[in-house]
Symmetry: D3
């Protein structure tokens, strides 16, 4: 506790933006079905789809002091990612902090706790994925850390990892894997388009994916 | 496990469509306040109001193979209803499966688990009532069954039962009761309209429903 | 149980309306970070921001009889606040009761249980903050009480207390404190505006709030 | 609602008692990994291991009137199984009802709600599997039903089905399957004993169950 | 926040001890089925049955400073009752604080948060009813209050109210009602004994409580 | 997925055993109040207090194949630590697997899922800390990994880290920190003994820890 790591490596912007376009479900599949944060992490408004480099915050329950410290570490394209050191649904973040974060180019917030001023944040176009919406305020008394490894909503996240978030939730991609995951995601998207057309035309997945023999071998019985 | 029932009986389309118009709360009351699935089953977007015949799926946790099998059993007007064999919030279903289901006339999905690609599903107009929104993918390794009796979100459902779903949640009507429940629902709706006008004019439920004497008999005291 | 308190004191309308304008987060901070109901209390639609005097209802699980009794006690500007005597997610309230409550000038409902007919309520513009959306109906068999002290979603509420509710949730202000809390809230709002502009211009909270020395004294280390 | 089915079929006592000896985990496996009630159903004390014929109760939230009605339907060797019509954790059952049930030969209670007087019940040796322990009392105002099909903690249960319960939880066996499930369970127990001795001697499941080739074929890599 | 009320009124010791003997379920019924804390409040070991005067603590999440302040206010026969100002499961209390509290005659702790050192507390015979068992430590940075009104696990509690706790959970009795509730509880216990003997002899509650006519009038049907 | 790491480093046995003696709460404090797994991880029986080197398992929901693979990797003094790749409460582990693990010197299991055969495990003295007790069985179809980094119940765990578990729950100590954490834990235990005696003699924490001036400076008011 009480450490701020100032220099973190980030993935290339072109990779990050490609992952944003691919979206959470595709990226998650492309990296071997891993990296999804718990499904209770929900967007405060529909339609945002972003990616960015994680600036991580480890904060005590009910204490948002480290958010101020973290904002100084933001670079354009970053996403704040906050995990409390024990479960807490307080509203750590609201419109003033969002104003400050946006002024530094921050793309959004992922927080395994609460957020408030959601009407203002929606109007500002500052997206947040949170465990709770709560007006409950916090104090500024106890240190946490910035840009140290954290566990947020069930996933280990290192500062500089790529965060992708949309209406399906949030996924983390380790920085070193970002380019290869993007390549796999784009390949997957290309392959999906052909399947979508065949399915729309009435072909069955049972046939497209050649499942019938394997189902029969497993013992599936039609009655 | 490992059984697909191919021929199921369905209620008449005119009855099903009448139940859709009546909506979940009215249908639930009309069949004696029974049949509501747990309240955690929420629509992925507001405004859809549907009814259809249940094509049921019993699937292992984290395995969506049986969805492909079930889609072949769909007839126009059906609704897919999936219950995992133990609690699971994985995203069993996304836009490709929805494309396939829509191609066969499916009206929607009720799933006591997770769904993904919710932005696409919303754009496609394919409504889903789910326990969770989750990008977490699934495998295709273990058999389940299709059109066997299941328990979904607290209600026993038999293939061919009528599912009604709207912004209030989901209710199931046993197929054999569908016509009589529709009649009761329509009678209820007719009766409500007169009450609505009297209440809007300022009359009290205490008087319209003649409650004062019974409240006093029970011992209600005004102080 | 079984008591209806008919005469309750209310805060002045001008104070109540001022608190509505200030909103939940500001009012909560202005009264010393207290009074927030649990964060599971969510609005059925976005955008409503109201305040009013609490008409309280203590009701048994699965029994909405007392809602009818409470509606007679409503005056224009009031808000119904219902707490079940044990946890329950039934839909105690729907469009007919809302029609009746609106006819008496009621501004909304706060209910630590379920609500139904949410599409109709949205169309009517009758806002509700609830623990659940559920079509499950209730009976009218057992007495509760109206305008007695209750605990609703974690907060003690006395009839006539001011309820403020918006997209961030719900906060209660004791009636006797309403005027002073409003003054503090308005002072807070005025002070925030200057800060917002400085933050938008890129100044850091670390500097505006003079946090650096105190952080260093606590031992924060930059690496 | 409002129906009491008086004559129900029961499985043979010798089959029921055999299932009790086999225990929940074995019985569940023996019937194809099905029938387990949700894992939140926990015994009020450790060490009880029972089986019996289900006498089912469907009861409104917060209303235990039907328990009295059900007790009259008990025969020696039965187990009471109660499901509320919507989620409720009230204490529907305590030492007086247990005294009455024991007087009729009842072996225990499975309740997807609350129970109270747990110290007395423990002293009496009356085992209960419940969702909650709660002193919250109930009323006797609204009818439910006895010996109708119910869904209890996620499983459909018909009166006369065999309930098996021990420290691992609760499983239901359809009455018609009871004898064949018992046979499968006993075969399973016999087969397990040999495996237990080989495992205790240090042999690995990888070898006993011949898993290595299949793991390699799936792609497992040792590094 | 930041207030310690030093002089609180307490109920007579003889009344408190009588309520302890009556136990939670009986006391709850005797005061009209009110006062039970949420059922998630569980004892750390079975068999304790106590009553005492509440010394209340309102504490921030993750901060146990006020426990030290509260201990100075304890008198023999008191029970500490702690509610965090927002949901928190940290271990606020362990064996050192228990040693200190016992030295002042404290009978136990009721805490809507976590407790730790449960093996030591069990060995010391210091009973605790808690929402969680957690080793997670707390800080001492932010003030709370002692002996102010709180809401703990869903019940409003004023310092000096009588807390009764046993294996069924926790109930609060307002100090002013303590004597009359004890009288009602003792009457209830006396009446129960006769019923228990009749039930044990095989008489049915249906007959003892004369329920058959009322059930028939409500429409109960035997088939 | 699909990787087994065969050679992992472990902390010295003397350090591990020292951490076991210190217990979870002390170890957690000694490493700066970090490392506690979520409080829902509970022991299946009271009184076990162990430490060991983590052999980690990442397993799909409802699939326990990797447990067999992991057991081969066990050395005497190890603890199995299993995290499912998405939330699951199935009973992955029972008495046969425990027999096998014990034959290899395994000290216990920490599993963010379910366990079964708890009566047998208790009799065998094989301790388990789990999220659930569940008889629900699993399949052996999909690969996971062994001795890769996992997140278990909210904590990142690397194979070879030291796991400490007792009645207060579970804490993880990074292997590299184990010796220094042990030293800090032992210092803490030594210091606590003196405090315990002073507290038992009636001295107050307010005085022993010199809190009065700081409380007054923060503004605490006695009324």
């Amino acid at each position: 506790m009480g450490v701020v790591v100032q220099n973190i490596a980030r993935a290339p912007a072109v990779v990050i933006d490609g992952l944003a376009r691919a979206g959470v479900a595709t990226v998650h599949e492309a990296q071997g079905r891993s990296g999804c944060l718990h499904s209770y992490m929900r967007p405060i408004y529909a339609g945002a789809q972003i990616a960015g480099s994680a600036v991580t915050i480890s904060a005590p329950p009910g204490d948002n002091w480290m958010v101020h410290v973290a904002i100084e570490q933001l670079q354009p394209g970053d996403i704040l990612v906050l995990a409390p050191t024990s479960p807490c649904d307080n509203g750590y973040f609201g419109d003033l902090l969002a104003t400050s974060a946006m002024a530094r180019g921050c793309r959004g917030l992922v927080i395994d706790a609460g957020v408030r001023d959601v009407r203002d944040l929606t109007a500002m176009g500052f997206p947040v994925w949170a465990r709770a919406i709560s007006a409950q305020g916090t104090v500024k008394e106890t240190l946490g850390s910035v840009n140290v490894p954290i566990v947020c909503a069930g996933q280990a996240i290192v500062a500089g990892d790529v965060i992708v978030a949309d209406d399906d939730g949030v996924v983390v991609v380790p920085r070193a894997d970002a380019a290869s995951v993007l390549a796999a995601a784009e390949a997957r998207l290309a392959a999906e388009e052909a399947k979508r057309q065949r399915l729309a035309a009435g072909e069955l997945g049972l046939d497209i994916y050649d499942m019938r023999a394997r189902l029969a071998a497993k013992g599936l019985k039609y009655v």
